[in-house]
Subunit: 145 residues, 2 copies
DNA sequence: TGCAGAAGCCTGCATATGCAGATATCGTCC
DNA sequence: GGACGATATCTGCATATGCAGGCTTCTGCA
């Protein structure tokens, strides 16, 4: 019988973390010529889709701690790709927006993103990629917390 | 037709990174009472399975940069859970081993790991969990590089 | 033997991640 | 109007992650 010491062989965390590292590497390398990490690219995409979002709401939608997001924004603000101005109605809230430079950088970086996405699709196959995406979506939905 | 601006909606990186954050959080919280992160727990498990492993080989098996692994070992060495001694035959190599304290810590932490694993299995269901694990394994295999 | 290239590991740099706790603001209840 | 709890964000701390570049050691070939 399988002993308890073999248990970590079925560890979901080990797998998803490995996959995250590997896949992040692929995207990071394609995005590097555009001076963006995959994290930063994702933030810009989110902000383009939801201009004026607050940090807390954005953090929740990205399944990320608000403090992490707050700090991840720092390099983008410093480079002038994102601005954060106080909400008129609620002094606690910082409303995030893409600057024109941020929008332009995102446009250019899209080519790198597509290249990375193609690498994944080529390696896994289109169907397997879709299946993986769907499985991850289901997991995220069920683990929402 | 779907415009290019919607493309990131099908981004595999965003999904796997979100899932990694969420799942890591679950494991980290269960392992925290044992003073281990999920990364550290994983390292101890690997070293128990492959005593005397070198950093490079271990890094490759964990799909992790060798420099990252090197630094991740630091807290474990400092706490006396892991030792690294020079290889007799090759002065470049550091052979990693679990100390008795490391082994004992791992034993105790196994309960936390099981609790986290149970949370995943309960939320996703056993079949879905197996399917997700299998999909991640396939992806890691195809993306090996 | 000696040297050139490879291999293994490290440091420096920058970002990524989350928890605990602090601060400021808002809303509400009295 | 003021106190109190809730909310939004930030700081301090520690670990996690990978790239560029450097040092030491090994290996193979001349």
């Amino acid at each position: 019988m399988a002993s308890a010491s073999l248990a970590p062989n079925v560890c979901t965390a080990a797998r998803v973390r490995k996959a995250s590292r590997r896949i992040s590497q692929i995207y990071d390398r394609e995005l590097a010529p555009h001076d963006l990490t995959v994290t930063q690219f994702g933030l810009l995409v989110q902000l383009r889709a939801a201009p004026g979002a607050a940090i807390g709401a954005l953090a929740e939608s990205m399944v990320m701690d608000a403090t992490t997001l707050s700090r991840n924004l720092r390099p983008l603000e410093r480079r002038g790709l994102v601005t954060a101005e106080a909400d008129k109605d609620d002094g606690r809230v910082r409303k995030l927006k893409l600057t024109p430079a941020g929008r332009a950088t995102l446009e250019r970086a899209m080519a790198g993103w597509r290249a990375a996405q193609d690498q994944i699709a080529t390696a896994l196959g289109v169907d397997e990629t879709k299946a993986l995406n769907a499985a991850l979506d289901r997991a995220l939905d069920r683990l929402a917390g």
